[in-house]
Amino acid sequence: MGRLLLAEWTKLASVPRWVAAMMAAVVLTVLVGLLGAASSTSDANRYWDFAVGPDGRSVRDDFHLAHRPLAGDGSVTARVASQAGLVGELQDWARAGVILKEGLEPGSRYAAMMVTPGHGVRFQANFADEVAGGGTGARWLRLTRAGSVIDGYESVDGTAWRRVGTVDLAGLPSTVQIGLFVASPDAVQVTRQFGSVGIGGHPTAATATFDNVRVEPAGSPPGASWTDRDVGRPALEGDATERAGGFTVSGSGDLAVVPPEEDVVRLSLTGVLVGLMAVVGLGVLSITSEYKRGMIRTTFAASPRRGRVLAAKALVLGGATFVAGLVACLAAFLLAQPTLRANGYGPPAFPRASLTDGPVLRAVIGSAAVLALVAVLGLAAGAILRRSAGAITAVILLLVLPQLVAAALPVSAGRWLQRLTPSAGFAIQQTVERGLCLPEDGCFPEGPWLGFGVLCAYVAVALAVAFWLLRRRDA
């Protein structure tokens, strides 16, 4: 196998045109990435008016709160008896529940137990760490504080309690705010107009009735009483009224991380789409040119085990492309970031992307891997079809066309196209989870790994078919 690898490497490296093609792939990837960065501008920072969460991310921390202070350890218990839409329909992500918050300023730390109509009971802390509890419907919710540790409990009947989540808010002051909150996010409508997707949204408000509200210890601090206010800037003003042993709270807004409008990492890796063309050509030609010149017979005479020849070719080609791709993607990312920041893609609206972040590293290395996989896909297609024209056309159609067609189709059809074609592999470049994931923005709904897996599966199947045909057919 070592000699085979050496032979394939010699064939690859000794053809000046192929070396040139590989260099072209690198240069194109970097150049197009830079051009894309230079021609993109954002004024998001000018209109940026979100709160900053505990970990530095932009957050929405807008809701209506009926609250009172709590000194030291203790607990708050309430039953969410009902939840209803007040302005607009009741949203799946309308939240109603109990909260323990460091202070009343938006962005401060908190832990909350809540009911949502569409997603059941949730425990949430600091805009992340969302843990799902039981189902929907009327629920008893409880938060307990012991030192800096907050536990969230749920119960169906108020006697048997189950812990849903826990969080350690180190350095929590001794007096915190506890209360009942209601939030209701904007209703988003995705409709089709003028042959493309249109997004419409309007604010909503929801109301919830709480009963069996109990704070323990009740007199800590002495003289504590309930008041209510809007926290943050909800789109619609909220309200709270107290009844015997309970509250009716209505409010608007959301408690969530606001994803940046643009994925700056992916933007700097746009060039991969162009570098890819050269890589496809390289992959296909590395085998079809052997067929054209009859070299393949020499190759097979020298090593009659054809499967090994294919494996050696795939390894050498994939390895070389991966290394070249990694250089290209690293350079594109590092060179494009300063330009992007200068063009308005800077903090706070766009958190600084650094190679030490997991998702960024995944996008950069993943892009190089996509290039390598595409080269091997080209090799397999070339081995199957034995013709450059057919193989190149097929691979490019499968990789690039779905992205174009997906943007023109209705959202659901477009998403299927993004899932099922090899172009799904580009999902690995995604570092931002968007609230609204649309094919026309090049957003892949399933997250980075599934799409990458789809591309891998295509490559594996193509290689298997190529292997089977190589052994069956005369060279």
Partner: protein, 262 residues
């Protein structure tokens, strides 16, 4: 010239791949157009009348794939001769190289225009059959597709012309590059990658600029029948941009053919 035309026609006609590619132009265009049309219906819009769906463009969207077969046909018409060495025979028989290129262009373009016309008629017929079932009815403001309607005729005829120009682009680049893989990659990059990159660029002004100069997005502006004011470039101006690309490629091909040894 007549002899050169006859020779080129014989060469094209007798290669089995040409027949397949012509079939692919028609088949892919009609199939993808029908599939895309079938996936869109008025229930995805706020109301059927406010949908503003450009049904003509939707029905003709199959050329996104159909054009690939055109590119392969046009590129192979010349690069295959370089691959096999046939070009030397061709040039020995017709030493005036300009004539050879003109004859090739005429034969390939005529073939593409004929298959493009079939593809467009087939797509329109499929669209007429599918659209009413998806809510695009006369009552909702979508009269049945008909070529007697001036914008529809312009879109349909323009799509055929678009395919002809794409063929010339492929032929020109093929003649200049003389290599199947290189020419194919060049044309497909020009056609497909430009619009995908344009969609990812964050600035709308730059998006519009890219869409104005990219041969595919500019050329396909000819298919628009509604909301012309929303296009980055007018229908005929867009086709003109593609014509400029095709003309430049042909000129480049002609110069290389004249200057370089075959």
């Amino acid at each position: 010239m007549r002899q050169a035309l006859a020779a080129e026609w014989t060469k094209l006609r007798t290669v089995s791949s040409a027949a397949w590619l012509v079939a692919a132009v028609v088949g892919c265009t009609v199939l993808l157009g029908s599939a895309m049309t079938a996936s869109v219906d008025t229930s995805q819009c706020p109301s059927p009348a406010s949908c503003q769906e450009d049904t003509v463009r939707l029905v003709l969207a199959g050329v996104w794939v159909g054009q690939v077969a055109v590119v392969v046909l046009a590129v192979l018409a010349v690069t295959n001769e370089y691959d096999t060495g046939m070009i030397q025979t061709t040039l020995a028989a017709t030493p005036r190289r300009g004539t050879v290129l003109l004859a090739k262009a005429a034969v390939v373009t005529a073939t593409v225009l004929a298959s493009g016309t079939t593809a467009v008629i087939g797509s329109l017929a499929a669209g007429r059959a599918i659209l009413p079932g998806n809510g695009f009815t006369e009552a909702n403001g979508y009269p049945p597709l008909s070529v007697t309607d001036e914008p529809t005729l312009r879109a349909a005829g323009g799509t055929v012309l678009y395919l002809g120009l794409v063929a010339l682009l492929g032929l020109g680049l093929g003649t200049a590059v003389r290599d199947t893989a290189g020419a194919l990659l060049g044309v497909l990059t020009l056609l497909y990658v430009a619009p995908v990159v344009a969609a990812l660029v964050g600035d709308p002004a730059w998006q519009a600029r890219l869409q104005k100069v990219a041969p595919m997005t500019a050329g396909l502006a000819i298919q628009a029948t509604r909301g012309l004011e929303r296009l980055p470039i007018g229908p005929w101006a867009g086709l003109g941009v593609l014509a400029a690309w095709a003309g430049t490629a042909m000129l480049l091909g002609a110069v290389v053919l004249q200057v370089r040894d075959a």
